[in-house]
């Protein structure tokens, strides 16, 4: 197994693990999304429903190497969104539960969550670059 595959599968596993509790407990996750104070009321439930499934499918695609370029792009995009949301709330001094890996209100402290997400963002960026290079070599340019 190449290092590229190991990184891709590791990122996929992170996304699958992060999604499960949230996909099962949509109501609790919706409360966390509301606490982030970033979305209008009517969008909260839809985001809380779709986001965990998007994470789950993205993770599975990365693990099983399907739709990999799109999945790597989504993983990178999601990590940017999560970092922005956490960063904004840290700046505003809102100490809300992260909702990153579970719907438990006792999440990790803000700075630790930010540091951990920065690590995952770096991993997502690396995987996306590797996949873009691989897709380019596979794509027949006209």
């Amino acid at each position: 197994m190449t290092l590229r595959a190991v990184l891709r599968i590791a990122l996929g596993l992170v996304f699958v693990v992060a999604s499960l509790d949230k996909a099962l407990n949509a109501s609790a996750f919706a409360a966390i999304v509301f606490n982030f104070n970033l979305l209008p009321d009517h969008m909260i439930n839809v985001v809380a429903l779709v986001l965990p499934w998007l994470e789950l499918l993205t993770g599975l695609c990365l693990i099983f190497d399907m739709l990999t370029l799109g999945a790597a792009g989504i993983a990178l995009g999601l990590m940017c969104v999560f970092m922005t949301a956490l960063g904004l709330n840290a700046l505003r001094g809102l100490d809300v539960a992260c909702g990153c890996f579970s719907t438990d209100a006792a999440g990790a402290p803000g700075l630790w969550s930010l540091g951990r997400d920065a690590g995952i963002l770096l991993l997502a960026f690396t995987v996306f670059r590797c996949e873009a290079i691989r897709a380019r070599s596979n794509t027949r340019l006209p």
Partner: protein, 161 residues
Amino acid sequence: MRPRPLLKLGLREAALLIFLSVVLSLGINALRTDGIPLSENWTDKTLRALGDKALDLSRAKALHATAGILFVDAREAESYAAGHVAGAVNLPYDPFNPQSEQRILSLPKDRWLVLYCSSISCPLAKQMAEALTFNGYDKVLIMAEGFEGWRKAGGPTGEAK
């Protein structure tokens, strides 16, 4: 030189993944017995959940002028220093820190307490109210709209020196 086919491929795959997530999540939610509605008024829901402890801004402003009411700011010290309800005391609350649990018990039991945090969506004031009620405090109110609402409503504010 020519990234177009690559970009197109990536976007097509991403769009397919997003489409599948939407269909799966909404479909499964519709089938689940504990599914949630697609749209909800969360501000309303939060106020309702507070029941008779909820204090709206106009009542809060009227009470603020009354002697004997103590406003308690549950946010962190930095937020308090940047601006707070005039005359409020700062007791940063963290429900997972036993020291902070102990600290709030220094509040007087015989005065009406008005708890607030940053905005309608912050949980701290509500959590502090639950802890106080659990410890026998029965004169506890929550200004649900928080400091954000107070400032918008033009309530008197103070800044730390």
